[in-house]
Amino acid sequence: MKSSRYNRFFDAEDGTRLAYNCVTSGFATLTEKKYRQVQEMLASPDTYRFNTKAKKELRDKLLQGGFLLQNGMDELDILKVRNRSVRFDPRQFTLTVLTTLNCNFRCTYCYEARKNITMSAETEKALIEFARKKCENADSFATSWYGGEPLLRMDAIARLREEFGKICEANGLKYFPGGIVTNGYLLTRSVGEKLRDMGIETAQVTLDGPKDVHDRRRLLPNGKGTFDRIMENLCQTVDCLKTISIRVNTDKTNADRAVEVLDAIEERGLKGKVSVYFAKVMSNTAACANIAGSCLVGQEYADLELQLTRQALAKGFNVTKYPRTKYHYCQADHVNSFVVGPDGYLYKCWSDPGNIEEAVGHISDPARYQEKKKNVFKWLAWDAFEKEECRECDLLPVCMGGCPYMGLRANSHTKGACDDWKFNLLDMLKLYYAGRVHTSQNTKEVATPTREERR
């Protein structure tokens, strides 16, 4: 047997010994005595004497968590095969549907080209036929609903969702109506109930801080703010949708106030009823090139993320995230996943709709399909395992080379586009542990060793 190269041993802020393996994402607490035993076992597993029941049990935990491996097992090979087997498996067909590029907001940092394109009846019909053909060779079909502001076209969403459901039923496929990304302005009780009835039970809504901060960033075309109405809508829909996820976009201009959104959520009785996560604003398209100077990247954002997570925990909001090992990065690098724009053009990445240069095909026009087909290959040929720094990186299992869009733009032969984990993995794990302990103090979900046990 041999020790994994992806093991991490470190101490929580309360001194508890922690063990994490990046390939399996197994995460455990251990007592001081077990910690010392584990170090001895991993140092020389072939000669260590597993001569008691307790030692054998500990060895089995190490094997289960990937901390210990059979000799000759190459973890990079495992990751590579896992990656290929999922990326190029066409049985899972995924569509992110943009029924419109039109939007009722004028956010200061929007990355989409502002185009008043909305899905026509003809394109709807063509999209249904496209899905029908794709479903002939798939096992499952999943959709996400996006825009522009998707709720401007509830009519199209309802028709497409119904037809997609029929196609799956006819072909014996599992259909996942998925979630919707909306600015929340039109998410009234009545709309929430319609979404729920369609099986679209997850909504992601963005709030960028307390009212004064949010209203400076996420505006109506007339310059008026949107905070109060979104909050009211959240209160109206929180019990009819399964999950409402609040995304808090952060950059240099709201970093110091972003966490105050949690106070507003608590004041309206939404604490514990919605989930919250912090994200970074990125300047990744021509449409938002002007905000590059206010964006936080790399270590800067990773530090902010830690700070915000810590502040949230102090307010009783567990917004910690967990570094779960990935098979591949996102739908952009998956062979049978597409983003479809309201004009029928197909893309691989959510950043591209409206930018026809980057389209990878078209749902119905063979000439345009052939013209754009070449773009598919650059996405599918993107490969972190070809990058020397990624191969050598201990975080490859949770990063998988990072965002393919950013990686392709950087066009480096040696490295991908490192995920934020690169800069804060251990600290985030410590906070994750603290969050679990904090939220499970009454349930004993996480066993925290006593001071005596730690010895």
């Binding site: 289960q64 999943a142 998925g178 996943s337 542990y433």
Partner: protein
Amino acid sequence: MGWEWVELPGADPVTVPGQPYVCDNLELQVAPCPLKGEVCQVECLQVH
């Protein structure tokens, strides 16, 4: 026994927003799947 899982070993079943991953390729797993081969639909819009 002095070793307690905070998170069980197992891959993220979903890395694509809304996409289910049917983890049926057991020979490729390096750790037992916590989902036991069930189809999972985790809301994973956070990638974006």
